[in-house]
Structures are given as structure tokens and as C-alpha cells.
Symmetry: C2
Subunit: 572 residues, 2 copies
């Protein structure tokens, strides 16, 4: 198992065994610890002192279901915090299969070139591909697959990342070679571009890997776990994450017109049911898997009205934030924005929220889909509006004088209004990375709590964040749970994989330790847990549809400081 | 002595005696304590929950020399920290003479109107003056003096403040009715505009006030103190603060081309000597006082080449940051920018640094004075460049992708390169308000230290910040010192004023207590002393002229946390 370092200052490549002290860390645990060990928390995120780290999870590449995730870590140019951005697609399995546990991109080239990194083809090597400059992710992947064959994984930065947009993603292609899976949050694409790296090609490994120590026990556990997931996640398989449209709308938390209300009466026009209906009418499909071995298969392929491919992986958050949040109700328009963002390399959540903020600031009209498409395209140009929007919702709010900016620590909220889903609100407020639902999403009913109840949400969020971290360490998609019952299954998988007993409690403890590392990085960056709160308007403006405000006491949020070992005093 | 509250939500005016617990606080001490007591540190700075507080110093309005200063306090839209912006001009003496110790502007009007507040003319009252919308400070003052007579003080917001520029000032007129003195830093103009307040007129009080308890002792002390200042500050009287051009250039710390070097070989074109020469040739003058009773008289009146009035109060920092920092060497051009900024209500320091950053980002050329004037004007328009620049240097750097942004906690540095003047560098890094030289400027030689020495600068900066605070409490201009020898004189003045003994040590102790209040506000806002550092490039890039980097250890800066009582543990 290797750690590969690419110093972009002189394009030096070194490949070593993963040091012993990192062996038990994978995914987000490995990116966090390497950043804590090697990166100054006060560095300029787009400068030579930041590092971009790719780490598949501990189980990535094995036959464990839904285990194909990769963590990307860096100091974020969007939030100034530590960042882990988690992505599916086939790259994680290919990296793991090549024996790569961590890939560290460091330094920065002196001259502006477009570098391509090739992995799994003898020694890792860098080659210049200046002709890829400005090219969209679709064209980039197409060109690289033409060169390297269809059986490679491609990770790439789009034109918005090349322009250092703080909402720029790193795209990862799916099994069909489409750049539709994105390490979306926190501007990892801008960090990659700041290193002069346009794309990474990973050759398909000769065999799956890594191999479990106790393979019989592992296979058995995989089979049982998979069976449970297939049975329990049917709605995700049938409708994709878009199944949440009606669910969240019912719960009164569907972001509408820059989070000014939580209910939308046109949700049948962009719901999961609608998505499935269009797939049946036009071709396309739901139940698509973003990487081989996923049994939940929440991805989808979306065809346009003409029956030809338009986009894939059209997710709930994209629909919510480009849709009702921007006054758009037409799924075809939303799919068009999704395609644009996939191609330009843009986080659909940050972009949708930034557009909503710009609409509230009078820059464009709610519901004007053509103006939205133009604004999204502008992020890959020198147009002033694009320069502003590509820095995300918070900067957009500053420039256009908007008070109601739904963001925490510089990162936009996601597709869940925190007044109706208070556990997710606590996660937004307290996550080590700004408002990140994947850090601990608390859907209504989870933990026996309804979204509008204030009491208990902080405890629920904390537990969910710890369990989500456990998934992120293993490279297992958070859609397997994460709930209390998931933990024994994950521990059993890891026990069989390592050939030694690991309990769910131990796995959680490791997760807590990584959260501490992340929180300590932020503390050193000058971002304290006193910033653990939502913008004031969520406390003062009731949702018109249900009268709810966000009323979890701020003291609870400030006290949820992962840097502090339970029981210790917090003065941060 | 009264505390006046203006609730702009319903234009309710209340006037009460200053509560007993605030009696011993003046100026910055009063603004800080009122903010700490009444404003949520996490509030939206341009929203209804912020408050804008005007407080003359304890000695303002008396015959104490150079005591005419007023503190403006609010949560800053530029830095997110607590803010005190200190200003001269005649308003402080008029407020104090009217018996007003604090003026608190709170709430926010529901409709966009331009309100005028009239003080000292019976009960305080608000009147609508919508016709002043968009008007520059010069025209605003002219119109109000036409209405209320030439013997009133005017405080006003210019068009850039009306557009909520985070670099917008509150202008205060001098004795000639020119809006040339500015509460410049931290966007106080935007806060005032967010309250719907365009201007304040203060009638000239019938007599000076307040009166000292022991007037004989007070007069005696005033006489001695003034004599010392007249003798000791001749250079400021002769050349204005522009005397620093050659001094700082010699010290190797004159910001040049966005702080890329610290020496400029054309400094004789914009030095204090040149300023005096032009005043002699064209009319205009140095030795002008910004308020009656100032014996230092560092202000000046600058005439254009045609011999007519162009601007007044052309200060060193304006010259350094619009001049060499932007590649401009012509004093007439710099004076033109100063006039523009006075009229539009813009902090010349934040603007000069933002322009230097934009130049480094390729947005305009170093030395292109016409493009600079257009860019300054744009901050009062809807042009995208203006919208960006008026949010200050940090946001400008984000938008244009510039790493070298000379700013701390969101506020630009001032006219002193911290690599050559490390004590001032420590002040930039550790002040409770972002990079503010007036919080504790350490000119070369102060405290027996040369600017390039690293050892001892943190102690020097801390002591200077505490002494500067003592000045700010009394409303005495920091140009009286602040050095150790100043403290006994200030204490003697206060003792005579109160009719009870106050020592220099007690005055300093009170200053430390106010610094604690400010630092605690910031801590609650989530801005910890871990942000006490300069941008990394000051540590990594040596000044070409002397090879100096900023090498004061970051641990020293982090440890200079005013919230922490000496000896206590800091974990913030």
C-alpha cells in the first residue's frame, strides 16, 4: 500500500510505503491526519503551501457494498477550514486496486501549464497537456479515454476550477466514462488547478484490491449487509435521491426562493416520481450505480425531451437548490443546469444558493432559467458576474448587499431548510467544514425525532456526524445508514478485512479522533466553535408554511466543539 | 451628561442621563462597553441588530490640547469584529458641548428614506431629506450649512456608504465646513447608511464644555502640556503627517506596488517637503488644525495647480497607499484621489490597498491615475468593479484571485510595511480591529527599537496599544504620544478634570480593561486570537530593499490576546 507524492514545483514524483502510523487510517481519516501533519492551517489555500490529498477509504476496492468512495482533502479556499469532499465514481476502486492509499499533490508549478498525472502505468508520471486548457470535463474525459482507452478512470478540473472558483469541483467519471460524480464542496477543483493539475488518469487495475485477511468471513458479511441494503433502500433505487423532493417538501423544509419558505406546491413537476416517469418515457434510467458493487444504485441517467442523453446523477440537492430555491419548477431546466455544472466543474449546491442570493439581491429574476444558465456559464469566463458567483454564496452576498445568505463558515447550506430539519441545521452549524449535510444529515424521523423538535437535535447531529465519519473512513457511502444499526455491520466488515476484532464502539472512537484532528486544524486557523451557528434570519424569520424558526440554543451549538474532549472546558 | 438613543425603526428619540456605570468611560471605552452590553457579536453588521455609537472622549470639549476626538463604534461590516473608528474635526467638541456623552443609533427604518438628525436645537429630532440621496459629502455639508448656518458641525455619509461599501466612512467637517475628517476604518459609513441616516447636524454649543472640577489645576496642566507639544511636534506642524514619507522611506517600509518593495526613489515628488513647497507656491497651507484647540496642527489645505482649493487633510497614509503603493508619484493626482474619497465617503487606506491588489490581479495598471479615479468613482455606482472594490481589499483579492493581499481579519494594512516596521506589524496582527496602525503605531526608534528588530516588538506593540487606548478614552489625539512620558500628563489632566487623583497606571489599567471587552466581543463573534498574524507573504518574501521579512514568531502574536488576563491560559 503506497503513498504517492507529486511535488508540482518541480514535478518530482515519489512513491513510498504508507508509513506505519497512517496504516489504520483511510479516506477522510487519512486526508485529515496528513493535512494536520503537513499543512499550516493559516496558509493561503490556493498557494504552494496547501496540499490536495486523495485517499480511498479503508474498504474501497473490496467487494464491500457501496464502498467505492474517495476522500479529497485540502484547506478550503471557500471556508478557510479543513475540508474533506467525498466522491463516488470509479476512481476510488481504481486507486485502491493500484495499491494507492494516498495521493498527495503539493507545491505549485512556476509556469502556467496543464499537467496530466498518469497512475497505474508503471511509475506515476506527469505529462503536459496544454491543449486541455479551458476544456470542459466531458471533452477532457473523452479526449483522455480516446488516448488511454475506455478502461481508465479520469479525475478532472473544469474551466471554472481553472479560474480558481471557490465552488469548483473535481469531477470523477462513472463506469460509462461520464464526469458526473463530483467532489463538490469546498473548492477542491480550485486547489487542484492551483497545482497546475488538469486531470488524473488511473489505469484499471488488473484485479480488485485490497484483499481481506479473513476472506470467508468478509464474503459472508458482505452478502448479509448487501441483502439488507437491497431490501431497505428500494426508494433510493427506484427514484434516486430525488425521492427526497416530496419527503422534504412534506416535512416543510424544501428550500424555496432563497430559503424564504419550505413548501412548494409544484413539487410534482420535479419530484423523484417525475424523474422516474421521464426515464420511462424517454429512455434514461434510475437504479444506476455510480461505481461497480453499489447495491443501492441511487444514481440515474437523465435524457432530454429529444430522447438523447443529457446528464447523469441528477441529485436531490441539485433539484432543490436550482429548482424551487431559484423559482424554477421544470425538471428539464434543472437537468440542463446540472449538465452545465458537471461540464464546467461546479458544485451545484453552492451555485444554486449563490444564484438564489443574487436573485434576492436583484441581480437576476427568480425563475429566469436562461439568465441562470448564462450566469453559470459566466463562472468559466472573465465576466464580472461570473467572477463574483464563482466565489460562492457568502461573497456573492457581500458584493450584492444581501443579508439573507444561507451559509455557515463561508459555505452554503444544502437542500434542507434547517428550521424544518433542525438536526441537519445543527450539522450545518457545527460541522468542521461549514454547512455540509453529508457530514451528518438528520432526515425527519431519524433518532425518533421529528425535524421541528429542538430538544435532542444536537445530540442526534453529533451522533450522526460521528457515524458519518465512520463511513468516510471506510470509503462506504453514507447512504448505507448511517444509523446505530449500521455500526456493527461496518465493524464486522473491518474486523474480517483486518483479521482482528474491531467493535462498532472502537470505529466510532476512531471517527471522533478524526473529528478532533479536523476541529484542531480549524482552531489553529482562527475559526473557533463560536462560529457554530446559523445566519440570524433562520432564528428570526419563521417559515411561512409551518411557523418554525431555528430554535436550537446557540450555547448548545457553541459547545458542540469536536476539538474538545468530552467534559473538558471550552473557551475557544 | 446625556445618552441619546435614536431608534430608526420608528424614529423614536430618547434622551436620558448617562447611566452611572458608564460615567467613567469615554470615547472608545464607551462605544466598546455599550456594544458589548447591547449588540450580539454574531449579528449582521448591516442589519437592524447592529448599533452605531458616537462618543466624544472624556476630555473632548475641554481646553485640553488635541482633545477634540470622537469615537464611532459598531460591529464592522468589513472585519466582523468590534470596531472603533476615531475622528477629529469639530463634531466632538460640539457634541460634548451639548452635553452628549453618547449617541446610539439603533434599529433600521422599514422604508428607504434619507434621514437627517438635528442635535442641540431643543430636543433631538429627525427630519426627512430625501433630496440628499446620492449627494457627495461636500454638497451635503454645503446644503446643510446653508440651511442651519455655518456654525454647525456636520457628520455625513457619502454615496459609497449609501451603497453599503464596507470601506465607507462617516465624514466630519472641519472648522471651515469641509468634510475632510473621516471616521475611516471598518465601514462605519455603511452602518450609518444601513440605519437610513444620511447626516447629523450638531448646533454649536453656547459655551465650551464639559467643565473640569479643579479648573485652576486643569488650566495649569493644559498650559504645560501644550507647551511641550508645540515644541516637540514641530515637524508635524510644518509638513503634516506627510513628513513620514521620507522617514518611512528611509526606514525601508514605504509600501510600493502592492507592498512588493519598501523603498521608492521618487519620494521627493510626494514628500512632506513637496507638500509644503506647493502650499507656499499655490496657496493652501500646512499647520492647519482639524479642530480648535489643537496645538499640533498636523492638517493641511492643498490647492491645485490653478491655485484653487482642492482638498484638505492630505495625510501620509493616503499619499503612501494611493501613491507608491499604486505606482503613482504625482502629488496632484494623489490629492485628486483624496478629494474624491472625501466626497464619496471612502477610507483612503482600504481603497488604496484594494486598488493595489486589483493592479496585481491585472484589473488595472500600476500608475494609471485615470483608471484609478474611475475605479474610485465606480464604488458609488452600480458598476461591477465598484461593487467589488467597495467591499475592500480582502474581497477584491478573492474575486481577482490575488494571493498577496495585505490585510488582517479582513481589513487592509496601512502605510507602513510590517517587514521594516515590525512593531506596527505586530499591531496590525493583534489589534482587536484588524490591521489598524492607529491602534498602536510603532515608528522606528520608539521604545528604543529599530523597525527591523524582531525581539521586543510584541511588548512594544502591546504597550503602545494600551497607551493609544488611553488617548482614545480621553478623546485626545494619539499624536500627543503616545509614549510612556505622555501618561502622567494625561493622568494629571484627568485628575484635575474629575477633581480626584488618577495615576497613569490606573488610566492604563482602564485601557486594558476596554481592550479585554473588545477582544471578548471578537471571541464571541468567532474570531479568535489565532487569527493574529500577517498574510504569509510577509514572512516568505524579503523586502528587496533591505532583505527583511516579518519574523516575529506567530506564537507571540497568538499569545497577545487582550481577552486573556495576563498569566491565564489561552485556548481561544
Amino acid at each position: 500500500m503506497s503513498l504517492i507524492r507529486i511535488d508540482m514545483t518541480d514535478q518530482r514524483v515519489t512513491s513510498t510505503e504508507l508509513p506505519e502510523r497512517y496504516r489504520r487510517l483511510g479516506g477522510r481519516g487519512l486526508t485529515a491526519q496528513l493535512l494536520a501533519d503537513e499543512v499550516n492551517p493559516r496558509c493561503y489555500a490556493l498557494g504552494r503551501d496547501n496540499k490536495l490529498i486523495f485517499a480511498p477509504g479503508l474498504l474501497t476496492g473490496t467487494s464491500a457494498p457501496c464502498s467505492g468512495r474517495t476522500s479529497l482533502g485540502a484547506k478550503s479556499p471557500l471556508t478557510g477550514t479543513i475540508k474533506e469532499s467525498n466522491v463516488g465514481g470509479i476512481a476510488g476502486q481504481y486507486l485502491a486496486g493500484q495499491g494507492i492509499r494516498a495521493l498527495v499533490i503539493e507545491g505549485a508549478p512556476r509556469a502556467a501549464r496543464q499537467w496530466l498525472l498518469i497512475l497505474g502505468d508503471g511509475q506515476p508520471r506527469l505529462e503536459i497537456r496544454d491543449e486541455l486548457a479551458g476544456r470542459g470535463n466531458y471533452a477532457t474525459v473523452e479526449s483522455l479515454r480516446a488516448e488511454f482507452g475506455a478502461d481508465c478512470a479520469v479525475l478532472s478540473v473544469g474551466p471554472t476550477g481553472e479560474r480558481r472558483g471557490a465552488l469548483a469541483t473535481v469531477a470523477v467519471c462513472d463506469a460509462e466514462g461520464r464526469p458526473t460524480r463530483h467532489a463538490g464542496r469546498g473548492g477542491m477543483g480550485a486547489v487542484m488547478a492551483s497545482k497546475g493539475l488538469k486531470a488524473i488518469v488511473v489505469r484499471r487495475p488488473a484485479r480488485r484490491g485490497p484483499l481481506p485477511v479473513d476472506s470467508a468471513r468478509f464474503s459472508r458479511t458482505v452478502k448479509d449487509f448487501a441483502k439488507g441494503l437491497v431490501a431497505g433502500k428500494k426508494a433510493l433505487t427506484s427514484y434516486g435521491t430525488a425521492v427526497l423532493v416530496n419527503m422534504v417538501n412534506e416535512a416543510g423544509g424544501l428550500p424555496t426562493r432563497n430559503f424564504s419558505t419550505g413548501h412548494n406546491d409544484q413539487s410534482d413537476r420535479f419530484s423523484g416520481e417525475k424523474l422516474l416517469q421521464l426515464a420511462r418515457e424517454r429512455g434514461g434510467r434510475t437504479g444506476h450505480n455510480c461505481h461497480p458493487g453499489c447495491v443501492i444504485r441511487c444514481s440515474n441517467v437523465f435524457h432530454g425531451a429529444d430522447g438523447s442523453y443529457l446528464t447523469a446523477g441528477l441529485e436531490y440537492e441539485t433539484i432543490a437548490l436550482f429548482g424551487p430555491n431559484c423559482g424554477v419548477h421544470d425538471l428539464d431546466q434543472i437537468a440542463r443546469f446540472d449538465r452545465l455544472c458537471d461540464d464546467l466543474g461546479i458544485d451545484t449546491m453552492e451555485m444554486g444558493v449563490a444564484l438564489g442570493v443574487a436573485m434576492e439581491g436583484g441581480v437576476l429574476e427568480f425563475g429566469d432559467a436562461d439568465a441562470m444558465a448564462a450566469a453559470i456559464r459566466a463562472t468559466a469566463s472573465d465576466e464580472p458576474l461570473g467572477k463574483i458567483l464563482r466565489q460562492g454564496a457568502t461573497v456573492t452576498g457581500r458584493i450584492f448587499g444581501v443579508e439573507r445568505v444561507p451559509a455557515v463558515k463561508g459555505q452554503s447550506l444544502s437542500g434542507y431548510d434547517p428550521r424544518a430539519m433542525k438536526g441537519t441545521g445543527v450539522t450545518y452549524a457545527t460541522s468542521t467544514m461549514g454547512a455540509d449535510h453529508t457530514a451528518g444529515n438528520c432526515l425527519p424521523g431519524r433518532g425518533g425525532l421529528m425535524g421541528h423538535e429542538a430538544t435532542g437535535q444536537t445530540q442526534l447531529s453529533r451522533a450522526t456526524q460521528e457515524m458519518s465519519m465512520a463511513c468516510d473512513l471506510l470509503g462506504v457511502c453514507v447512504f448505507v445508514g448511517p444509523v446505530a444499526e449500521t455500526m456493527p455491520a461496518l465493524a464486522e466488515l473491518l474486523s474480517a478485512f483486518w483479521g482482528e476484532e474491531v467493535t462498532g464502539a472502537q470505529l466510532l472512537e476512531q471517527g471522533k479522533q478524526v473529528l478532533r484532528v479536523e476541529a484542531e486544524f480549524n482552531r489553529q486557523a482562527g475559526i473557533s466553535s463560536r462560529q457554530n451557528d446559523l445566519p440570524a434570519f433562520f432564528r428570526s424569520e419563521p417559515l411561512p408554511n409551518n411557523g418554525q424558526t431555528f430554535d436550537v440554543p446557540v450555547e448548545e451549538l457553541n459547545a458542540l466543539d469536536f476539538a474538545v474532549v468530552s467534559g473538558a472546558d471550552t473557551t475557544g
